[in-house]
Symmetry: C2
Subunit: 513 residues, 2 copies
């Protein structure tokens, strides 16, 4: 237990200041402060000593140097039971400082609101983090508070222990403090690397704010949590059970595709992070029904994501089957009422989520791979038709749709498409031929194909041999798009021509593991 | 361009100090230093002013407070062109400090070598990071050097610009500096959360050292790099082409399985991050041949990983087919010579890699999910035999092997096993029935099954309906292990009994997406 006699306060975020001051007064804790905090404390009617008075040194450089003084830092850093430390303090006429309440210049907030580099740099706090780090190091004797949200905890602690704090509390606050300073400097470091376009600095920091501890991870014997690089999640849950790890994983997989589709007409259904149905159609119900038709069995218990606002009739259609999660860009009032009839159905508004700031990190053992996201969108300019038969506009549209979808299917990926709707998805196979077969089997199981001149196929990487192409053509595919790059490319073109198949080389690969 | 007149030096890592001092002397730069660095500088025969002399304040608290003084920090932080700053310095008789050479107390190194909490805490540097942060903030006027590896760059800069540094150089060093301070505090924060067993603190920091920039990411239009939380990679490449992003990804997928198998007898083959063959056998060549036999077509161009040392005869066997990467726990000299005959073959020694410190992070948009790794190893004590027919010891051994493998196969996962060798792997499907079919098709394609009483199957999660089980039994599977938990469990047990199938409930789920 450590009695608190003297505190230094320097806060950029002045919320709840009055409340904490009232409690510090109650326990007769002497206050030292500087700059704007000093002004605010006296304005609120509390006694406080100015730092310049305390150190007998003027605040200089427009406030850049205020607290960086031995009297302050010896007061924070001295070990209370170390005789030489006690002697040093006495000799220099320094006092022990037992409590540090500091929060930093709002560097991150400034980043969001300002483009002015000088102003941003000026908001790098030097004195604050130094006091916090010193106090956190010396948590054995000193309490450090870095966030107004911790005031209540401190007040409880002081009341419980009559003006003292427990070691356990001080250690917890110290842990939080180093989290704050590490996070603060990570944001700064990240800003610098962005300014210089250095994606891969020597020291890489990935930083996140805890959004929620989850019930468990992918499996019940794993613990898990979700973090955001922002202050809070861009998703908004408006109904249903708490989201699980696997829910989040599936929701984001679905949204990555949803956000890539033309606005206002796309439906995506995901199960086990893989899409099992995607369609774009101007008619909302049709878009949903078509996506569902690709694999209605897998869709059971899945996540459905719409890149538009859900209306009442669509809500009724959705409720006809069991889904775990519905995601949309908003919900009409009546639609929400219908969906909420299913108590467990998780309802997510993803209107505020955007594709900026995507992190792409893959952890393995004690390493992680980082890459820039695969943002390449394939369009009419990128391809080369290599077969004798040329694609119609409609076929081309479907080929481009299929190829852009293949980016989101785990490799090896083969996607069969009709009318901008997936009709077969083969995913996650070590052999490309197997992915072809899976896609074909799906199509045969769930589709009635009347006109075989309307099915197109996309492959996320090249066909190493003719066999994959052959299996697709045999099952009725009329046009195929693939990156090319195999030593067998010529043979593959030849085979396409022999069978009257349209073959397009995209020259872009979309591996996704 | 900024002329450097005065430098402050405080280094824990004193390597290459003489070289940089010689160059600073050449440009008549005045030196200030403290503690051990001061001693070393004078020992090396260079002039240097003691910090206590410079600030006219004694070093106190056994060195805890040395540089935390306004004279030092105003010297670093003053804007050289700001009239009020110039005035403040003059009034206080402070001087500009143009160069800060500081590296920190070796907190991380101490963590590795010491278990003494007090000693570890004492190694949290307060003064060093403060000077570095101040200099990095004021990079417009001040140069900051945080690592002996940067000395040569500084020397080049000083020589090129006659004792001056360029803004570009100062900005680059500032970027590095904030990377260092963020990393330093992340390691400290991480230590505190480990002490308190707080897996999921409010602010989470993932930190890594750049190991290598890669040619590209999963696809050529993506940039990528690999980082390690350690100073260097635990893998050792001893031959072949440079590793790509996809190589690393596959190698780690393979190693996660390899390291889980009984020591000295396991072979794993991976393609597109999914295993396509796993076997354990005391005979090294047999272990490899059996793993290969599961899907020799997919294995083409794959990654093979052995959890033992490779000898010459195995090396010859390996060379019979095209593989991208060979991983092992060491190589006999003659084996290495054989493998190196294939110039492109990447040869990796994974002997030093261990399963400690596994990070499990999954990034999605601006969020990331963190979970504790799935370390649960299934063994004889965990299961419940629910069928009338009971498994023999051999069948049980194979069931446990199959279930432990299912953990590493992308969900939905179905694994068929015979003689502790996979004979069919169905992975990454939204429907469990489809994963069954894929596994069965593989088996039919590559295996000659003479005795149908030897094939067992594992499913990573429960069967929702009888259909999956039915398809396995029809193809000759005699025993099935699965977690249980479906509302149809009773029906599934009934079906197993009707068909004389062994059914075991593992009660553990192994989702892996």
């Amino acid at each position: 237990m450590k009695k608190i006699k003297r505190a230094i306060i320097s806060v950029s975020d002045k919320s709840n200041l009055k409340k904490i001051l009232r409690n510090l007064k109650k326990f007769k804790i002497k206050l030292i402060s500087s700059g704007g905090t000093y002004k605010e404390i006296t304005r609120l009617g509390f006694n406080c000593e100015k730092i310049s008075n305390y150190t007998n040194t003027a605040e200089i450089l427009n406030g850049r140097v205020k607290t960086l003084h031995p009297k302050v830092h010896a007061g924070i850093l001295s070990k209370r039971k170390d005789k030489s430390h006690i002697k040093d303090l006495r000799k220099n006429n320094f006092n022990e400082i037992d409590l540090v309440i500091v929060n930093f210049y709002p560097f991150e907030k400034n980043l969001e609101t300002s483009k002015n580099h000088e102003k941003i740099i000026e908001n790098i706090d030097i004195g604050g983090p130094t006091m916090v780090r010193a106090a956190a190091k010396n948590y054995n004797d000193v309490t450090v508070i870095t966030n107004p949200q911790q005031y209540d905890n401190l007040i409880n602690e002081l009341n419980k222990f009559n003006g003292k704090t427990s070691l356990r509390f001080r250690q917890e606050m110290s842990e939080n403090a180093f989290g704050e300073t590490a996070f603060y400097d990570s944001v700064i470091a990240n800003y610098f690397t962005k300014v210089t376009c250095n994606e891969f600095p020597k020291k890489k920091l990935i930083f996140g704010n805890l959004v929620d501890k989850l019930r468990y991870g992918e499996n019940p014997h794993q613990e898990a949590a979700i973090y955001s690089i922002k202050k809070k999640l861009s998703l908004n849950q408006i109904g249903g059970k708490k989201l699980s790890y696997n829910n989040y994983n599936d929701i984001f997989s679905a949204l990555l595709i949803s956000k890539s589709l033309p606005k206002g007409k796309g439906t995506v259904i995901v199960k086990h992070t893989n899409p099992c149905g995607i369609s774009i159609n101007n008619n909302k119900i049709k878009s949903y029904r078509l996506a569902l038709s690709c694999d209605p069995i897998s869709a059971f218990g899945g996540v459905v994501s719409f890149n538009f606002k859900i209306n009442e009739s669509l809500a009724k259609e959705i409720n006809k089957m069991f889904l775990e999660v519905v995601v949309a860009n908003g919900f009409e009032k009546k639609a929400l009422k219908v969906l909420k009839n299913k108590k467990n159905l998780r309802i997510i508004n993803a209107n505020n989520l955007n594709k900026e700031n995507i992190i792409n990190i893959k952890s393995n053992f004690d390493t992680f791979l980082i890459q820039t996201p695969d943002t390449k969108v394939f369009n009419k300019k990128n391809f080369k038709v290599v077969s004798k038969v040329k694609p119609s506009r409609k076929i081309l549209k479907n080929l481009i749709f299929a190829f852009n979808i293949s980016k989101y299917v785990k490799s090896n990926a083969v996607v069969l498409v009709k009318d901008e709707t997936t009709v077969g998805i083969g995913s996650g196979q070590p052999s490309r031929l197997d992915s072809c077969k899976i896609a074909i089997d799906k199509m045969k199981k769930f589709q009635e194909i009347n006109n075989s001149n309307e099915i197109v196929a996309a492959s996320d990487a090249f066909f190493p041999f003719v066999d994959g192409l052959e299996s697709l053509i045999q099952s009725g595919v009329c046009a195929v798009i693939q990156p090319s790059g195999s030593i067998n490319d010529k043979e593959i073109i030849k085979f396409a021509d022999q069978t009257g198949t349209i073959l397009v080389f995209s020259k872009t690969r979309h591996f996704n593991h």
